[in-house]
């Protein structure tokens, strides 16, 4: 069977197929009866080792709109909390006949490990600091819908790059799709080998903003301060936060994105988050459509349409 483990594995053709399929399926969400019979009789398991109501709900809704049977398996209060390992959980789900497993896990590579133990499709819904491919796909879809293209689009990703699976997925997917990515962060929050990544790096947000079509703000956990990644939350906010003054440096057509959850007043000010050029709630809506597309392409036919 085939899986979606990382956005970086997708070819231009495969990624474009997901985005085109998303567009078709998005129309379902506009109907009064928001349901297709496509995955009737198929079972999708949401296996969530991290609390993430947003992502789990998005996948659940996507699977239900395609008429799949959905089982939510959260680590808390299950056999996992009694010490069961990932492999045994995988074998249990396998025995229950799961056609697809959506996994969220705090260990990088957990989705890949799961894929070695089960026959069904594995869909990575975020693994540690590694990747979150559907987030990058929904981000790319949102950019394409708003700005009409991805090729040559100038995208600034701002914040805690080092610990971010969203950044990793976006850097590689956007590079595949022809966008020009610039990472903006204090040097402590950028990986040491970032010069080998298919993107540019800047430590100066104000210098980057005027040459940016899309600015994507990442959440910065205040706890990072304890590990000396930056001196104080206030200093971080002053140097790398997107406030009204910095927002004004963007070209008029530029959009502001955030994968959520946001920390208003830290990386983004309320006035920017609530601006009409902010796509934050649109991203949530698009998330459902993208996940429908991915589930459809992985589980819908007799042979998966893409993936490895």
């Amino acid at each position: 069977m085939r899986h979606l483990l990382r956005a970086g594995d997708l070819s231009w053709d495969e990624a474009t197929l997901v985005l085109d399929t998303t567009r078709e399926l998005a129309q379902v969400s506009d109907r009064s009866v928001k349901k297709l019979p496509t995955l009737r009789g198929r079972t999708v398991v949401n296996l969530f080792y991290e609390d993430s109501t947003r992502t789990r709900t998005s996948f659940e809704l996507a699977a239900k709109r395609l008429s799949a049977d959905v089982i939510n398996f959260s680590a808390k209060g299950s056999s996992v909390s009694k010490g069961e390992g990932l492999k045994d959980t995988a074998l249990t789900l396998q025995a229950m006949g799961a056609d697809g497993v959506v996994i969220r896990h705090d260990s990088s590579g957990a989705a890949r490990r799961l894929a070695t133990w089960i026959d069904g499709s594995v869909l990575n819904a975020g693994d540690g600091m590694h990747e979150h491919p559907t987030q990058a796909l929904l981000d790319a879809y949102t950019m394409r819908e708003r700005l009409g293209r991805l090729e040559g689009l100038r995208v600034a990703i701002v914040g805690d790059i080092l610990h971010s699976r969203v950044a990793r997925s976006n850097v590689w997917l956007l590079a595949t799709l022809g966008a020009e990515v610039t990472l903006v962060a204090p040097p402590t929050l950028v990986p040491v080998s970032v010069s080998t990544w298919p993107c540019a790096v800047s430590y100066d947000l104000e210098a980057v903003l005027p040459k940016t079509d899309v600015v994507m703000m990442l959440r910065v956990q205040a706890e990072r301060m304890q590990a000396a990644f930056f001196p104080t939350a206030r200093e971080y906010s002053r140097r790398y936060g997107l406030d009204g003054d910095r927002f004004a440096l963007l070209p008029d057509h530029a959009i502001v994105m955030h994968p959520g959850p946001m920390v208003r007043g830290m990386e983004i000010s309320a006035e920017v988050a609530d601006s009409p050029r902010s796509t934050i709630t649109e991203q949530v809506a698009n998330g459902v459509s993208v996940r429908m597309a991915v589930l459809y392409l992985l589980l819908g036919g007799s042979e998966p349409a893409f993936g490895n």
Binding site: G85, H105, S108, G109, P191, V192, T196, W197
Partner: protein
Amino acid sequence: MSTTDNARVIRGARILGGEPADILVRGGVIAGFDAEAETAARAGTEVIDAHGLFALPGLVDLHTHLREPGREDAETVTSGSKAAAMGGYTAVHAMANTDPVADTAGVVEQVWRLGRDAGYCHVQPVGAVTHNLDGTHLAELGAMADSLADVRVFSDDGKCVSDPLLMRRALEYVKAFGGVVAQHAQEPRLTEHAQMNEGVVSDRLGLTGWPAVAEEAIIARDCLLAEHVGSRLHICHVSTKGSVQILRWAKSRGCDVTAEVTPHHLLLTEELAESYDPIYKVNPPLRTAEDVHALREALAEGTIDCVATDHAPHPVEAKEAEWSNAAMGMLGLETALSVVQHTMVDTGLLDWPALADRMSATPARIGRLPGQGRPLAVGEPANITLYDAGAAREIDPAAMVSKSANTPYGSMTLPGRVVATFLRGVPTVLDGKMQ
């Protein structure tokens, strides 16, 4: 006569890869060569045909985890010393990070006695530097040195003695009985939550990096400390190019430092982590091809003195997990000689006498281990490994003699095969099978 004094003639073995010779083993020592061996053979002494095989001095490992007491599900002194014999070893140094920790005379004597009773190789306990490996209080090093186990190597391996003052005191203290402190060089703050070598691969995989500097900074500090107090320092499992440069510099200053490299750091690189298969998760982590190259050169020139396996058995479930939740470490005893042949001899970096130096004589000297690592000469203990360097074998994890199967070489084909191992004249392995 041949039954009572365990006499055997090893016929046609090429000692250290030289011309074929016959070796007479009697009473646990090498009693003579060609003429004496021929006489004994005619008198009916058992003859072992070793034509085409190399005779090497029994290998000595400075760094083995036997897991007993405490983790007998992974390995025991008996199963680990069998694995050692299977790999051509006649002596292993059993690391102290057991449960309970080998930090008292009682525990080291227990391990020593278990090894002696098993009888597959000499099991030499390593004593912990600090009480319960806590890094803050010295263990009773003198009591362990004076015990039946005769401990000379002290190590908190698995943990770094990171407190510089404590390290200084340990180095000073062991001078009283000719001991050596074997340091696991890993600056703890720089490696919090570290999962693999920090660099291109860790950044892409989203695994917390383990920078080379965390190893190198400790090595530099400890070389300076050892020099200052005039003591003997040994560096465990050197893994980076920078460490090699520091060791070269320290030795040139006259610092009494020795170092070991593991077989896996001579062969494997960090790209293997891309599978997220924790069979490749190890401490220190697999590094880059550039590091591997530097380690091989250093072992060839002697900047790194010896090979040590860091044999680290783990039960299946400890490795069948997500990378960050899996245990660190890999098996080494049964594949070490093949890996060193492959990386050092077949590449032209070492000849067979030099290999014997790096895997037998030098580790025995560093460990102050009498009767091990001796030349194959008349009157010397008959610790002998017969090795078929021309063989090739596919490594089968399930076929390991070790109680565990966590070898990283599964399904790889490696050169060479240990045909026989003699411990003080008694075969522990014969025809490639445990005796």
